[in-house]
Symmetry: C2
Subunit: 220 residues, 2 copies
């Protein structure tokens, strides 16, 4: 990753705001970045090639759409700085309890995962996940959490198929210790999966549709 592209992404995201859409000419970007118009133009082309942005030219002006990959990069940088500067943060998110479909249970119970949970999380998880649909206003916090390095649970193979790696984050809900688990390769969903050594639905008296707060605890 070229460092100049990072600076350009910052400029563009700053302009784009929460809609992630910016209208800017190459010479204007050039001026903001302190480079020539030609270089700015080349940077935009590179950003498109690397899928950090999408661009259309409408009525002689460029419409730049910031892509997930670019936001990922910015949040990753933010997390890296948190980590380097040893800034401890706790993030709160709010969401709605979802019907779990029993899929979680299938995955959690796999020996390949379970053994690692016991070893790395120092607990034996209840065989099932609590699924929470995070409210849209917490989208950015979720993105930041997802971009952080968690406790890595490696992928594995069994007779039938391959299971991908996941990463876990320390969290708590209403004082009950739990872990958020995400696929290691980032997937953009607003539904998070929570595991704990307790049956969370029971311990917290939850039913589908309940609104709850989840706190993610980072320590570097």
């Amino acid at each position: 990753m070229n460092e100049t592209l990072y600076s350009a992404i910052k400029e563009l995201k700053n302009l784009a705001g929460s809609k992630n859409i910016a209208y800017i000419s190459s010479s204007e970007l050039a001026r903001k970045m302190g480079v020539s118009q030609q270089t700015a133009s080349r940077i935009i082309l590179e950003l498109i090639k690397e899928k950090y942005i999408d661009r259309t030219i409408e009525n002689r002006r460029q419409k730049i759409m910031i892509q997930e990959k670019a936001l990922d990069l910015l949040y990753r940088e933010l997390n890296e700085l948190y980590s380097i500067l040893k800034i401890n943060q706790s993030f709160e998110m709010e969401g709605t309890v979802q019907n779990g479909l029993g899929e979680g249970k299938y995955y959690i119970s796999k020996k390949g995962y379970m053994d690692q949970f016991k070893e790395k999380l120092k607990m034996e998880p209840f065989p099932g996940t609590l699924n929470i649909k995070i409210n849209p206003e917490y989208e950015n916090i979720l993105r930041q959490v997802r971009g952080a390095d968690g406790i890595i649970i490696s992928g594995f193979k069994d007779r039938e198929r391959t299971f991908g790696g996941v990463k876990c984050f320390n969290a708590h809900i209403d004082g009950i210790k739990c872990y958020l688990i995400f696929p290691e390769r980032s997937v953009y969903t607003d539904i998070i999966e929570v595991i704990s050594d307790k049956y969370l639905r029971q311990a917290l008296s939850l039913k589908d549709g309940d609104i709850i707060k989840v706190n993610v605890d980072f320590e570097f």
Copy 2:
């Protein structure tokens, strides 16, 4: 500022930890950064020249001391990301009420400042400052706050001398709205000055030596 130097500073600060001292050879830094040993060596020389680090060579190994200028850079980047990503933060710091010496009163009362306070902070400050010595464990938070862009109060001249610009941050102490004020040019002191439209010592029943919490409110 070269972007490569920024990456190098991150690597070095990461290694250095809170003591801001790292022992690392140029080839090790080269490996971490994915460049040649020669380039890493040159980077270190540039960092020294630009006063981001200090270096001594003891018993064949380099001792690298991270300088304030480098920390400034990292915190500034962090703040820039906060701003770009519209992350609102509130920072809490703890400190001890200090004897103010009446200096604050002299400055605050200057028309050049007072007019701007009224206009930009939309309040008429009590003519005096509450000085708080921040506890060392909040040093990094203080650094981060100081590195942020606040509400700018421009410097001015009167008949006798020049008064430098200051920047203000929204804050509150025990629910009372106030502002932190810092000289615009960063100075490394652990004493902060607080102004408010109220006489804070009275409103909060404070005396020298009292320990209080200050919350700085950022909004981007």
